[in-house]
């Protein structure tokens, strides 16, 4: 039983820690619960304990599990999907500007992980490669990768070419509809 209520920003006060349990994406600071990440707030109330009605023959400690657990979803599209706005999945496209991190260098190319496309931080990482002839516009033959990048550098680049896509075929009959 979880429902998205609103979107929290990092550092937003969610309530006192005595009444709420911290879930994923939250933290406790000075006995109060704060949001750690940006995302929709979801509150989960544990089901009522089942079993025979309480017999007061035994003294049990107050169960902390009865508190409402507040967590924040990492995927912000969960709440926006409810509003009917579908969030298109962002993938790098040709000519899009990306930010990437150099993972390793070789004499002929630098391998990178694409982390950001345009203004959007990606959920995962895409592998990319910068070849010597793509490092700079002039004197391409004098480019040395180890004089241009080192592992760990953050690089701004544009996409020249997507990974080779195989197994894509347009059925001739379907294609005829578009041409006709």
């Amino acid at each position: 039983m979880a429902q998205a209520i609103s979107i929290a920003v990092p550092g937003q006060l969610l309530g006192p820690a005595s009444e709420l349990l911290p879930g994923p994406g939250t933290h406790i600071h000075n006995s109060r619960l704060y949001a750690s990440i940006l995302g929709p707030i979801s509150k989960t109330t544990p089901p009522k304990p089942q079993g025979p009605s309480k017999r007061l023959t035994k003294i049990t400690p107050v169960e902390p599990a009865l508190l409402t657990t507040v967590s924040i979803e990492r995927d912000i599209s969960i709440s926006s999907a409810k509003d009917g706005n579908k969030k298109a999945e962002v993938i790098p496209e040709v000519n899009s500007t990306v930010l990437c991190k150099v993972t390793r260098i070789a004499p002929k190319q630098a391998s990178v992980s694409i982390l950001v496309v345009g203004e959007t931080v990606l959920d995962g990482e895409w592998q990319g490669m910068i070849r010597t002839q793509d490092v700079r516009a002039t004197e391409k033959d004098k480019v040395k990768i180890f004089e241009s990048f080192r592992p760990g550098d953050i690089v701004r680049a544009v996409v020249v070419c997507p990974p080779k896509l195989r197994y894509i075929r347009i059925d001739a009959d379907q294609f005829a509809d578009f041409t006709g």
């Binding site: 592998q127 490669m129 990974p163």
Partner: protein, 62 residues
């Protein structure tokens, strides 16, 4: 004589990227000593603590 229009064909798993423009290139770099460096020219980053320079393809700041 060959005229080739197609610039490149990506391989199966990698995006091919280019930094062949003034505003493209390294925007954050760490030195061999592990310090964050600042750009001093279009091809050099400098470590503020050791004073060492390292060569990079520096992106022109906006």
């Amino acid at each position: 004589m060959l005229t080739n229009l197609q610039i490149s064909l990506g391989d199966q798993s990698n995006y091919y990227l280019s930094t062949a423009s003034n505003n493209l290139g390294v925007i954050m770099a760490t030195s061999e000593a592990g310090n964050a460096m600042y750009p001093v020219s279009w091809k050099e980053y400098k470590d503020p603590e050791t004073g060492e320079s390292e060569s990079r393809k520096v992106a022109k700041p906006f």
